[in-house]
Symmetry: C2
Subunit: 155 residues, 2 copies
């Protein structure tokens, strides 16, 4: 299997865990030298934590594992295009690349609405690959919102 698809399937496993808990199903893994050093799924509702997106959870775990805030050379896989906060966290953590699944036209900050990851002037920039297993990510989100949208919790 293609390397990007392999790790994106791990991120999709995390997304499913979020969905099972009633959280918007987005998942992420951080990979360094062919090893997963951080995993995360969205847990904003359970944690009463607006910062607990999949990417932030995975980045924090990776920092603990490396005992460093610098995740130099790491690749972050995430099932949905990152929001501005998560794109900013990728700049802060110095990850080398993000590989994401589905484009997010509403808040995507890897190029759909704005490209924060490669905005001129910041002291770091992050390489981008999008569209990996996008359909699987979209299906998870669509199925989730079909069930949950009436609760109006996610706006």
């Amino acid at each position: 299997m293609d390397r990007h698809e392999y790790y994106m399937r791990e991120a999709l496993k995390e997304a499913k865990l979020a969905g099972e808990k009633g959280e918007v199903p987005v998942g992420a893994v951080v990979v360094l030298q062919d090893e997963i050093i951080g995993r995360g799924h969205n847990q904003r509702e359970i944690g009463d934590d607006p910062t607990a997106h999949a990417e932030i959870v995975a980045i924090r775990e990776a920092g603990k594992k490396l005992q460093s805030w610098r995740l130099t050379g790491a690749v972050l896989y995430v099932t949905l295009e990152p929001c501005p906060m998560c794109a900013g966290a990728m700049l802060q953590s110095r990850v080398e690349r993000v590989v994401y699944g589905l484009d997010d036209p509403k808040a995507g900050s890897a190029g759909s609405l704005i490209n924060i990851l490669q905005f001129p002037g910041f002291n770091h920039s992050v390489k981008i690959i999008g569209g990996i297993l996008a359909e699987e990510s979209q299906k998870l989100l669509k199925d989730f919102f079909k069930i949950n949208v009436r609760k109006n919790k996610f706006i």
Copy 2:
């Protein structure tokens, strides 16, 4: 004392705590209905956590306190203009306003380099006041870097 100055002095106290621990001295408080509901100072080095900026720490504490990820109506005071990650976290947490101290021409995302807080298209925007007790904030940072810059830890 002016309300903004009062709360900014609380944020400056947090910044000093960071400096005493060898962290870049930036501090923040979250205020709702004249009560401080979250406090934070930068702890990126100690926590091996690239997301542990003052604002993120304060926002997470406020969410726990309110038992909600939505900090609707809250004002976030921070001694330095927010970076992209922290500006994004303010959008995510739905804070009403940020009041900051010193402009950051290198990474400021409340207008100096980019204005993420009021970028067209996102589902929320954050009001901005800058320049409150900026000199105090600048002095803390300058004094800190005078001592610590040779360690080259902060690049």
